[in-house]
């Protein structure tokens, strides 16, 4: 558990010197407890206290990078168990496994699926983040060959080298160490040799043991061998154990600041049944895995899992927003309706979905209202006649229209008079209150 304000206060000089910018040491201690300030602001703290506070201030789940450079995926740094308490920090990486027992062209086809997996959703680029190359052949030369081929085909994507054989691991590391792959893994039988490799090649080490207790003993042993960065796998046998192990590990890290389990978790979600695998991966996304390993990069599954990950890792205090602009639905002509609404992502999705359902080609003017829905934005003074008028004018959308007519949400019908004053030459039409009435409304528009 992180230290309380009072516990921190006892470690400070108690001089109230104000050099940290706070009126008293107690006030500074309270800021430290909330992780809003750094202990470095205190010039007079003792080295012992600085070390204790530094350890306590470190995130309960160690920040760790998967891969290198701009393609690296950040993991760890999580601080809570429930997303309503505080935003989950680093969205889990989705990885796809290729085994070295596959024919090489088959393996590279899967790699190609990964490379072409990207889609855009609400302004975010979503894609498979990493490739696991697994030494299922037990032959170091075969493993080395596939690692070389994968790295050549996908030079920028983070790699996870999955082998329990230190000889195979070293052969692969010699080729790709500069890409900072995750070396998975160490277990009780090979810990010394794997730890030595992780130190020598400066890579993150994946550590596996059955259950949180054995796992914590093993990470302590490996840490004593000089390895700082680890990813851990409690080897769950099924969904119930994934939920149990991941929960107990996250609790130990967050509630007890238990360092031996304060590492990102990797979970292997593969199942013979693709739909079941999709649900196992969903469990991993919702419940604390930092890397989820899948058997393939099927587009239908990627879309569902990317979306779930985006939803679960959304900041509960900051609604998802879409970009302010004029969105075309279908191919709107100069006669097409123009609808204005706010940029709350759900508002956008629902309105654009209903307009699509109507099959009436239209323009939707999405206005930046800090992600608020229509009524909230109106009440907060973000969705007002002057602001809407300025947005519509600055967008220049009127130039694309034969008749300047703007449809406003029924909930803000009250704005129509003021808008007609602010937008001379425009006709303001009050649309339905609820988006689900849009198809009927658009079909009856007389044009």
């Amino acid at each position: 558990m992180a230290l309380s304000g009072i516990e921190i206060f006892k470690l400070l000089p108690k001089t109230n010197c104000k050099k940290c910018g706070h009126p008293t040491c107690l006030a500074f201690a309270m800021k430290l407890a909330q992780r809003q300030e750094s202990v470095d602001l205190c010039p007079d703290i003792s080295e012992d206290s600085r070390r204790i506070l530094g350890d306590a201030a470190a995130p309960p789940v160690r920040p760790t990078a998967l891969g290198f450079g701009s393609g690296a995926v950040k993991m760890g740094e999580e601080t809570v168990l429930f997303r309503h308490e505080k935003k989950f920090v680093n969205p889990c990486a989705l990885a796809v496994e290729v085994k070295d027992t596959l024919p090489e062209d088959e393996a590279l086809r899967i790699v190609n699926d990964v490379l072409t997996s990207g889609i855009d959703r609400i302004g975010q680029r979503l894609e498979i983040d990493a490739i696991v190359v697994t030494n299922a052949s037990d032959d170091p030369a075969v493993f080395e060959g596939l690692v070389r081929a994968v790295a050549a085909k996908a030079p920028d994507i983070p790699l996870i080298l999955s082998t329990g054989d230190p000889a195979a691991a070293e052969a692969a590391l010699k080729i790709v160490a500069d890409k900072k792959p995750l070396l998975y893994g160490a277990d009780d039988s090979n810990a010394e040799l794997m730890a030595k490799l992780a130190v020598a090649y400066d890579v993150v080490l994946g550590v596996r043991a059955k259950g949180p207790e054995a796992l914590s003993a093993l990470t302590e042993k490996i840490r004593a061998l000089g390895v700082e960065d680890m990813v851990i796998d409690p080897g769950p046998a099924g969904a119930a154990e994934i939920l149990r192990d991941n929960t107990l590990i996250r609790r130990a890290a967050v509630k007890k600041n238990f360092k031996p389990l304060g590492y990102p978790v990797i979970t292997f979600a593969q199942r013979d049944d693709q739909m079941l695998e999709t649900l196992i991966a969903s469990l991993c996304i919702a419940k604390y895995s930092s890397i989820v390993v899948l058997s393939g990069a099927e587009r239908w599954r990627n879309l569902a899992l990317f979306t779930l990950r985006q939803n679960i890792y959304t900041d509960p205090q900051a609604p998802m927003q879409v970009e302010q602009k004029i969105y075309n639905i279908g191919e709107p002509s100069e006669d097409a309706p123009l609808i204005v609404t706010t940029n709350f992502s759900l508002t956008y999705f629902i309105v654009s979905g209903e307009v699509e359902n109507s099959r009436v080609a239209s323009r939707i003017a999405i206005m930046d209202c800090e992600g608020m829905s229509v009524l909230t934005a109106w009440a907060a003074g973000k969705f007002t006649a002057p602001r809407i008028a300025r947005f519509i004018e600055e967008s220049g959308v009127g130039d694309n229209l034969k008749n300047r007519e703007l449809i406003i949400p029924g909930y803000v019908a009250i704005l129509s008079g003021a808008l007609e004053e602010k937008l001379p030459g425009w006709k303001i039409t009050v649309g339905p209150r609820e988006a689900n009435a849009l198809p009927a409304f658009l079909k009856t528009l007389n044009r």
């Binding site: 969904a239 119930a240 649900l279 569902a304 939803n311 679960i312 979905g353």
Partner: protein
């Protein structure tokens, strides 16, 4: 420093409920966080009900309506198919055709449909209105009377029409679904209002309002988690009702579930995508605490049942 498993036990407990008669399709009853079998009692599997409706499902996308094409012209045949062929453990009949903007069927017609469906099944029945605030009252009064003696679950009672619907449920010995809109306090308040009418709080199912994956599932997810935490940690008797996830209705109307692959080539196979959309939405609300789900596609239900099998199997 040795590892000590930090397990949590709670004073609070979710009410256990049987859909249908005693011992039939029991759900709820947990005194642990959702599916946390490793640290507390989770006596029952979540119950999945197959959704059917009183009119031909021309508003469902082909991917799911085609499954029922031979039976969906007749609600009784449809219900029988779900029970006998798909091994449904419960059926949810949505009287969508009573909505004034649709077929505007009368309460009498709704009652006849309920009667014919009940004649064709022995598994428990959930009876849902069309979500018309004004019409659901008279429709569900007639439906509740037609289902007297079968111990159904009827709904949804909302803040603006709960009195009529709760009274109909009480008079005919049914359980009640209380729906509020994605807000912990509104859910609690509605449970209190309904209890104050003399309705047994242990016969209420809370519907905190479902959302589809990609369309607000994170709100449903967090509201469910917070309701369940209030039930367990705060031992709040007005939050201990089992929760419903009305999944199918919300998922099969979104673009991702139904868009043809040629229109959206980056989204992949249409059939699997629709099933996954419903199954992942259902899995998320299950993990957040739902005790009962209403779903449409048999392949999505099948995947959920396998998922639940794994969640109820602790080996090591």
């Amino acid at each position: 420093m040795a590892f000590a498993a930090h397990k949590e036990s709670f004073a609070g407990r979710v009410y256990e409920m049987a859909a249908g008669g005693a011992g039939q399709a029991v759900f709820g009853g947990a005194s642990a966080l959702p599916l946390h079998l490793f640290e507390g009692p989770v006596p029952n599997r979540p119950l999945i009900a197959y959704e059917i409706q009183d009119v031909f499902p021309d508003d469902w996308p082909d991917a799911v309506s085609s499954v029922y094409k031979d039976v969906s012209h007749d609600p009784a045949a449809w219900a029988g198919f779900c029970q006998d062929e798909l091994k449904a453990k419960a059926i949810a009949l949505r009287l969508i055709g009573t909505h004034p903007d649709r077929e505007d069927r009368t309460p009498d017609e709704a009652a006849k449909t309920v009667g014919s469906v009940l004649d064709s099944i022995s598994v428990p029945l959930i009876i849902l209105g069309s979500n018309s605030i004004e019409k659901d009252g008279p429709v569900l009064i007639a439906a509740a009377e037609a289902a007297k003696g079968r111990s159904c679950i009827i709904g949804k009672a909302q803040e603006s029409n709960y009195k009529t619907i709760a009274a109909a449920a009480m008079a005919n010995n049914h359980k009640l679904i209380a729906m509020s809109e994605l807000d912990v306090n509104l859910a609690k308040q509605l449970n209190i209002l309904i209890s104050q009418m003399g309705f047994d709080k242990e016969r209420i199912v809370t519907d905190p309002m479902c959302s589809a994956l990609g369309y607000g599932i994170e709100y449903t997810y967090s509201v469910c988690e917070r309701i369940r935490l209030a039930a367990l940690a705060q031992n709040d008797p007005t939050m201990q009702q089992p929760m419903l996830g009305d999944v199918g209705m919300h998922t099969w109307k979104v673009k991702e579930a139904a868009a043809p692959e040629p229109d959206m080539p980056l989204w992949g196979a249409e059939r699997e995508r629709g099933i996954a959309w419903e199954a992942v939405t259902a899995a998320a609300v299950l993990l957040a605490g739902a005790d009962m789900l209403i779903m449409r596609h048999p392949a999505a239900v099948g995947a959920l049942e396998k998922f639940i099998d794994e969640l109820f199997t602790i080996k090591g």
